[in-house]
């Protein structure tokens, strides 16, 4: 059975997963071979799909969860967490 890495993080920038942040997230996710799921509450989306991530739309302080499985899961996890912790490159 494939191991699934899972982590929950808080989206810190004010508008949460607004369009530009969503684009960054999807671009980062697409650098990896692993399957990456992102979820918020009940909603689940493919982190490699801009439409999916946009519809997920986390407001400020929203907690999102990544579930990652695949050959490069650990590095994908690191990269995604870094992006979110960094406020998608938009915290002052």
């Amino acid at each position: 059975m494939t191991e699934v890495l899972s982590v929950t993080v808080e989206v810190k920038n004010r508008l949460g997963l607004h369009a530009r942040a969503a684009a960054k997230l999807v671009n980062v996710a697409n650098q990896f071979k692993s399957q990456i799921e992102v979820s918020k509450g009940e909603q689940v989306a493919d982190a490699k799909s801009i439409m999916g991530v946009l519809l997920l739309c986390g407001g400020q302080g929203a907690r999102i969860t990544f579930r990652i499985s695949g050959p490069d899961a650990p590095s994908a996890l690191t990269a995604l967490c870094a992006l979110v912790a960094d406020g998608f490159g938009e915290l002052p």
């Binding site: 920038n13 004010r14 508008l15 607004h18 369009a19 530009r20 942040a21 969503a22 684009a23 960054k24 999807v26 671009n27 493919d46 490699k48 799909s49 801009i50 439409m51 999916g52 946009l54 519809l55 739309c57 490159g89 938009e90 002052p92």
Partner: protein, 566 residues
């Protein structure tokens, strides 16, 4: 058959344009919807794949163009569009519909887009409305490419007037260039990105005309009057000829006004600066002889991200603007999120305060490159302004500790809230300068709602004039500069009145600088003061306008007539 219709919208970018219509994304039920044979499915899928790839290539090109022209700040706007072109929920879903329902690609695109947009539109939040627009823009890109129409094939044999519901940022960047000579959009406002880009690229534009009343075909003649906001569809030959003449004369006029002086008939020197939103407008400002940047609106860099970029990114941009204009002064207005009152200088949350500090620090650091001033929008109480000043001092102290070299930076405020005008005397004790925003001042004085679209508060209303008079008088008594940077300054009829009240500094869109100077040269300040006194006694904005037409007409009438204003 001659079909003719006149529309009235918002004059978003001055100038006159005449040319054959080119419709972008406006369909009148002519989008071909048809079922296809099983045997044709593969061909339809290939046609769709081809459209996706050429549409994507076009947006890539627009992204590069945007980066080249405006630096890396704005280009990521287009990443969302690019990603949508590779998205399973959109692209794969469309292919599935073509395959399973055996319908043509245009129909499938519309079906899937509608399915994705519907839940977004039901949600009232601006975020979802914006995303619905994004998807709509991608639909228009795809449909255009399916129709085989590509920008590389755009007619090069003559000028065209673009008619669109709205332009996506990608389209605006790409299409507001020759052979496009004019722009008409059904949606949009004076400050929408389409209007901003039209002004930047000097394309005469009327936005927000509402749904077109008649069906028009590509190639039908259209007349765009970016002075009065009038659009004529199916313009007759004599109208077109007259407009051609006006356009040529306006061009010659701009050319001849490039290096004129702004001195009134009775020898009073006036300063005319430019309002800008983008770095690329610095060139137009200089070309038109602007004496500085009287209002640098910085919100554009937050477009689609709702948050300011980091300090270093802002600094890089600000340095270019300031050094480009040096030794002339650039007046920065701090971020002004319309409707987002939390970003006013007062009552700031911790996060907003951090954003404001980031911007103020970047502005202070950019001061080394030339001459810089800083002002705060929407100030309503003296305490707010003192808070804003304290924030600037805090930033200055921090930067000094980091031994940054800082030049003195004047700290002023916008006078655009009635309370600020009423207490102008008190504010003048604390502000280094005033800049009057006539649109917002009129708006708040006359209790308009921002969502009142289609109509705007008239700054010529006597109540507003009283506040304008009060503000300039207080500034003169206190000996601080006071400029006018709203729509009134760019109005060739109202500008004379502002001179009469005592305003000597103006800031108008870069493309309107030469016209403002021409008006100024035809005004006698002493006579204008008498007109201004009488205007304060008028009972309505219409009466004021009538008064101006009568009393300033003898000197300015010819100029007004030429611009189609009277």
């Amino acid at each position: 058959m001659t079909r003719r219709a006149q529309l009235k919208g918002i004059a978003a970018s001055i100038g006159v344009a005449v040319g054959p219509a080119r419709m972008i994304g406006i369909e009148h039920g002519r989008r071909p919807h048809r079922r296809i044979e099983q045997g044709a499915v593969a061909r339809e899928l290939a046609r769709f794949a081809q459209a996706v790839s050429s549409s994507r290539a076009e947006i890539e090109a627009a992204k590069q163009e945007l980066t080249q022209r405006h630096g890396p700040t704005y280009a990521p706007i287009l990443d969302v569009y690019l990603l949508m072109h590779a998205d399973a929920l959109l692209i794969d879903a469309i292919a599935d519909v073509i395959r399973e329902e055996r319908i043509n690609a245009e129909w499938a695109v519309s079906q899937v887009v509608e399915r994705l947009r519907r839940p977004l539109l039901e949600d009232a939040s601006p975020y979802f409305q914006e995303r619905a627009n994004d998807i709509e823009h991608v639909r228009e890109h795809l449909l255009r490419h399916l129709s085989g129409e590509q920008r590389s094939e755009r007619p090069a044999d003559g000028p065209t007037v673009l008619i669109a519901r709205d332009l996506s940022p990608a389209d605006a960047v790409h299409m507001l260039a020759p052979p496009t000579v004019g722009l008409v959009t059904e949606l949009g406002a004076e400050s929408s990105h389409t209007a901003i880009l039209a002004r930047t690229f000097g394309v005469p534009a009327v936005v927000g005309v509402g749904p077109l009343p008649i069906e028009i075909e590509d190639g039908e003649p259209v007349l765009v009057d970016g002075f009065s906001g009038k659009v004529t569809l199916g313009a007759a030959l004599d109208e077109r000829k007259a407009a051609d003449g006006r356009r040529d004369r306006f061009r010659a006029f701009l050319e001849s006004e490039r290096s004129t002086e702004a001195v009134t008939r009775d020898g009073v020197s006036i300063s005319v600066a430019a309002n800008i939103e983008l770095l690329s407008e610095v060139e137009a400002a200089l070309q038109n002889g602007a004496e500085g940047i009287g209002l640098y609106r910085t919100e554009f860099m937050c477009l689609d991200r709702g948050e300011p970029p980091r300090e270093e990114e802002q600094l890089e941009l600000y340095r270019k603007v300031v050094s480009g204009m040096a030794p002339r002064t650039v007046v920065f207005r701090t971020f002004d999120w319309r409707g987002d009152k939390r970003l006013r200088a007062h009552d700031l949350g911790e996060r907003q305060r951090a954003w404001l500090k980031t911007q103020v620090r970047a502005v202070l650091r950019a001061s080394g490159e030339g001459s810089v001033a800083l002002m705060f929008p929407m100030v309503a109480t003296v305490a707010e302004f003192l808070g804003a000043r304290a924030l600037v001092e805090e930033c200055r102290a921090e930067l000094r500790e980091q031994s940054a070299t800082l030049k003195p930076v004047a700290v002023g405020m916008m006078v655009e809230v009635p309370s600020a005008a009423l207490l102008a005397e008190r504010f003048a004790e604390h502000a280094d300068f005033f800049a009057v925003g006539t649109n917002d001042l009129a708006h708040h004085t006359l209790a308009f709602d921002r969502r009142d679209s289609g109509s705007a508060a008239n700054p010529l209303d006597p109540a507003v004039l009283g506040l304008l008079e009060r503000t300039i008088s207080a500034a003169i008594r206190a000996g601080i500069p006071c400029s006018m940077c709203g729509g009134m300054a760019a109005d060739p009829v109202a500008l004379g009145l502002a001179l009469g009240f005592g305003y000597r500094q103006f800031s108008v869109p870069a493309s309107a600088v030469p016209l403002a100077r021409a008006v100024i040269r035809n005004v006698d300040v002493e006579a204008a003061s008498a007109v201004a006194r009488d205007a304060l006694g008028c009972g309505s904005a219409d009466a004021v306008r009538q008064l101006l037409l009568e009393r300033l007409g003898p000197e300015l009438g010819a100029l007004w007539k030429e611009q189609g204003l009277v």
